[in-house]
């Protein structure tokens, strides 16, 4: 008798346990109950923890409403309008074949989507055209950082014999002075005649309007917790966690504005592009290039300074295997990301595409 009751009681208890135990696989529930101090056996940072953060590692943050504006070149509508005319004007190249927009094409996200840029008379240049979008947030321009302002950057391709091939500054100033409308526009924008510095100042002022705010990531950071999908949030966690992307791609524009070598130089080839080394002459800078911004990164194909990697998935795979075989930064090492994690990271990178600036018509004067 006693034994029978015992059996019934155990049976009922077992049944109750089965009924009330929650299903083991419920991702939503898992996320909600996860705490910051989860045991070391589960390396992933929980999404609830991400959502609770007010500040992300690496100070990755929303794009500021305006890029820094240098005191010597304040923004004015007249100057911006003039800068736009100049940006699209092929008369800024010696043979009239190229404007800034030839390589920095608005239809191609202010780049050219080519592995390497093409200069005057179809000369293939050494590096990929960096997009102008959000360049105004960066203190250094060019892949090797040799210009410390947009004004200085704008001057170089105009005067480069491989690019717009203008022989010298006065040559261009004299050419533009023959166009009455430009004389009027410069007087209006600067209160004085055309000069080379004013040409590059106006172009830089226009470029400072080419920004892409309000990406899903920006909305998320500003408080819209649903602006990112669960997969993108997992990707963001990897970005500043396991994948360590934010070691270099940090700050509001997802770049540290520093130079890193990814181990892609080979010992043999003497013709290789040594990147920052050509400017700094420091051994550590051999083959190091400036960390590019990751904003709108899905649009900016192909990748790397020489356009040598076609897709973003391949770029992620490259970093996952620890970069190239050559001498490289200590920050580059195998990441051990699973295929799913690489997908999550890619999904997060898609959230960095913001509102594109509307640039219609060039407005360059005929006369």
């Amino acid at each position: 008798m006693c034994r029978w009751w015992k059996c019934v009681t155990i049976g009922i208890l077992a049944l109750l346990t089965l009924c009330f135990s929650s299903p083991a696989q419920d991702p939503g529930k898992e996320q909600a109950s996860a705490l910051p101090s989860s045991p070391p056996s589960s390396p992933a940072i929980p999404i609830a923890f991400l959502d609770s953060l007010t500040r992300l590692p690496g100070n990755i943050s929303a794009l500021p409403a305006s890029p820094p504006i240098p005191a010597a070149n304040p923004q004015t509508p007249a100057k911006i309008a003039l800068g736009k005319m100049l940006f699209f004007d092929t008369r800024l190249s010696r043979d009239g074949s190229l404007s800034c927009a030839s390589c920095h094409d608005p239809a191609k996200h202010f780049s050219d989507m080519r592995p390497r840029a093409i200069g005057i008379r179809h000369t293939v240049l050494g590096r990929r055209t960096p997009s102008v979008l959000n360049a105004a947030y960066n203190p250094l321009q060019f892949w090797d950082g040799r210009a410390n302002s947009l004004e200085k950057q704008a001057a170089e391709p105009i005067l480069s014999s491989h690019e717009m091939a203008v022989p010298d500054e006065n040559w261009l100033v004299n050419r533009l002075r023959q166009i009455p409308n430009y004389n009027r526009q410069f007087t209006q924008a600067f209160g004085g005649p055309i000069s080379f510095v004013r040409i590059t100042s106006a172009i830089a002022a226009f470029e400072r309007t080419l920004i892409t705010p309000d990406s899903p990531f920006d909305l998320y950071i500003r408080g819209a917790k649903n602006a990112l999908t669960i997969q993108q949030k997992r990707g963001l966690i990897l970005f500043f966690g396991k994948a360590s992307c934010s070691q270099c791609h940090n700050g509001p524009n997802f770049t540290d504005n520093k130079f890193h070598s990814l181990g892609r130089l080979s010992g043999e080839d003497k013709t290789q592009d040594l990147g920052r080394y050509t400017i700094s002459k420091k051994l550590a800078d051999r083959g190091a290039f400036k960390t590019p911004s990751l904003r709108n990164v899905v649009d900016h194909t192909p990748y790397m300074h020489d356009g040598s990697i076609a897709t973003l998935s391949e770029v992620i795979a490259f970093y996952n295997r620890g970069g190239g075989d050559g001498k490289k930064s200590d920050l580059i090492h195998p990441l051990n990301l699973t295929a799913n994690e690489q997908e999550d990271l890619l999904s997060f990178l898609r959230s960095l595409t913001g509102t594109q600036p509307k640039v219609e018509g060039s407005g360059s004067p005929r006369q």
């Binding site: 910051p36 940072i45 992300l56 590692p57 100070n59 966690g241 070691q247 540290d256």
Partner: protein
Amino acid sequence: MNHRSHIIVLIFLLCLAPPALCGEIEGRVDGWPQATLTAAHHGVVWLVGSPGPVDVKSRSGTKPTMSQIKGQFSPSFLVVVAGETVAMPNKDEVAHNVYSNSSSRKFNLGFYAKGDDREVTFATPGVVEVGCSIHQSMRATIVVVPNRYYAAIREDGMFRLSNVPKGTYTLKLWGNHVSPQSRDITVPAVGKVEVTLDGRTSQLDRFSKPMREN
């Protein structure tokens, strides 16, 4: 001066001088592995016995610190005296977690980023293996010794323990590439005692055998 005054002067001088009852241990770990580009060798010797009260405040000024920087613990090897608190600031651009499952001190500081610093107090002597659950390759070791009578093994395998009160102790060795060892040792009131330990005994993986020890 007569004989008597000599003795008086001598006694007077003896009273002035501090009691010279401290000796020195000078030692060598035989076969201490040469440092290579890929492997760092860390080791420490310390005394067990009764070398006076445990002196927690032996480290003057700054708190011992183990930072996370550029995806590494820095330093990756630290010796502290039982009772000391170690600052573990994140100075990195990525998030880290700092934890230990070692028996003498288990802790988990959770996930944190730059500017959100944490610290850990180590009350019990022992060897504490530290890791980051996000970045599995990040490793560090904290050896918690019972008192301030410890010395790190130098690159050439030598060590020196100074100002040790006269007495008999057990000298302990821990190194990430050698087997733990003990050696009884008598420190004289004046002068030094020399000791040689065997560093060739083993190529231990430092994470395979946490040592519960005092």
